[in-house]
Amino acid sequence: MTIEIHAVDWLIIALYFVAILGIGLYLKRFTRTGDDFFLAGRRNSAWVAGLAFLSANLGALEILGWTGGTMKYGMFVSHFYWVGAIPAMLFLGLYMMPFYYSSKIHSIPGYLRLRFDERTRVLNAVSFAVMTLLMSGINLYLMALVFKVLLGWDWHVSMWASAGAIAVYITLGGLMSAIFTEIVQFFLIWAGLFLVAVLGIADLGGPAALLEGLPERMTHLWSTAGSAADNEMGITWLGIALGLGFVLSFGYWTTDFLVVQRAFSSRDLRSARLTPITASFFKMALPVIVVGAGLVAYRLHAQGLLPIPDDPTRPGHTWNDAALPMLIARYYPPGLVGLGVTALLAGFMAGQAGNVSAFNTVWTYDLYRVLIRRDASDKHFVWVGRVTTVVGILLSVATAYVAMRFNTIMDYIQAIFSWVNAPLFATMLLGMFWRGTTSAGAFWGLVAGMVSSFSIFLGFRLDVFGPGLARVLCFSEAPSDMARNLWQAWWAWAVCAGVTVAVSLVTPRKSDEELRGLVKGLTPSPDDGRVSWLRRPVTWAAVSLMVLIGLNVWFW
């Protein structure tokens, strides 16, 4: 079952490669210093940084995965785009960005070094680097898998062609190349995938007819969250609010360097604060594509009108992730098929480029400069960044080949966000908002949070935890994988926060002088008094929040 590709489709795909390589080549002349390569010269507007901020998160894996997820969970998937993203993005823009941006750091581990100490920085840098490379490799493997099964493309050609193109344009233009191609990807995703949802909804008679034909438990956000048995995700409103809305969401959006790095490239503090706030509006719009197409696929598949292949990694199970490409095959004529495939390709490649550009910064500034060569010229570090890009890509390809042979590795990697980001959010929150947080408290809290998250994951994975413990940890004797992930994140955060506070109470803290500019109460608040209210971050954050509330009430 493969999608037919015509000459005009190939032309569109080839043009994409020409465009991104051309952009990389063009930007090389503007990329000479460390700031140019690792922070895109710190000259981006809130619009550019905001779209890149969103695009770094908006990989094809997410789009394919959540479109397929909608077939299983219905509109509950919107939680991941609304309550599971927007409050965290607004919090980052309003409250956390002043500490990040004003301290002139290159990376999140760089903040940990300033606020705490070198060992906390190295611990986070190593875990982030490993997570990033693994994610990049898995991204590459799944891209090759999608194109192999649905388009009949050769594994090796898919992986090496996309990895090679990314290596070239990131090595040439650094973060600026990544940001430019991410924004191109953003427009290609809307141009290439929005139409498929529109045509599908029109085919089924419009939005009202689409929703009328669906089971009640698939069309609401909160009214079916009173009990885990009332919705397909098997989770209550408390799990959504604490696990997703608080820990996982805040952990990802406020501390994951992959996305926050884009805000660091802004030209001033106001633009940096507006970066996630601008992105929040586009994030809220994405369910139009993802959930819209997923619901259309559910209806068509139930009527036998949309063939979906079996999962190549789990024979006998429908491969819901293939729903979106199958909708493209159904609704798009030649030409538009090329645009849809290019949108997916761009999504895969931009996601991987984001991982690689974040990895080269963390490796260069937080590991190489700390552990290997402390005193070197700016030019030397740019060279290291370029070499690291190529090495990172090669390690990603190697990970992809490992995943190809042992695809159970993916189950572990899916949970890695909970190991790294959830406890880190507790460390950041306490570090930024409580002066009493000590370096020892932060380090041991982070270690305890990561270990507890990993232990809970293994406990369920290896069936060590029975229904009794499941009820204590997840408020359900038989939680779904998704519910377990959300509660696992919550416990990792809680353990990290508890240990950090306990250790901080008995260990010496830094002086106020050392914490100036890094902690609430010792950092001047951003002064927006001189700009009109229309240009103030708080104004747009309020508008975004109102839209979020309106959407949740609408689909209650």
């Binding site: 043009l15 300033l114 290609l188």
Partner: protein, 78 residues
């Protein structure tokens, strides 16, 4: 101690990203419109929209691309 940033000498700025976005959207829009005339549309798609989607969708993309090209060229050197 804050981290040291390399000196940022003034070498001019690259063309705004909007220029490249405009170029790509306009090129893709033109190709889609041309393909709407050259390639036949399957019946199942005609049942949803009588006009070939490549024509109106490609036209919209080309128009948007031209707007972005204008914005990009206007912002050059700023």
């Amino acid at each position: 101690m804050r981290e040291n940033h390399g000196p940022s000498e003034d070498r001019g700025s690259p063309l705004p990203i909007w220029f490249f976005v405009g170029l790509i959207l306009a090129a893709y829009g033109a190709i889609l419109m041309a393909s709407a005339f050259l390639v036949s549309v399957p019946d199942r798609i005609v049942a949803v929209t009588a006009t070939p989607p490549g024509l109106w969708w490609g036209g919209g993309m080309a128009g948007l691309g031209l707007v972005f090209l204008w914005v990009g060229l206007r912002g050059r050197g700023r």
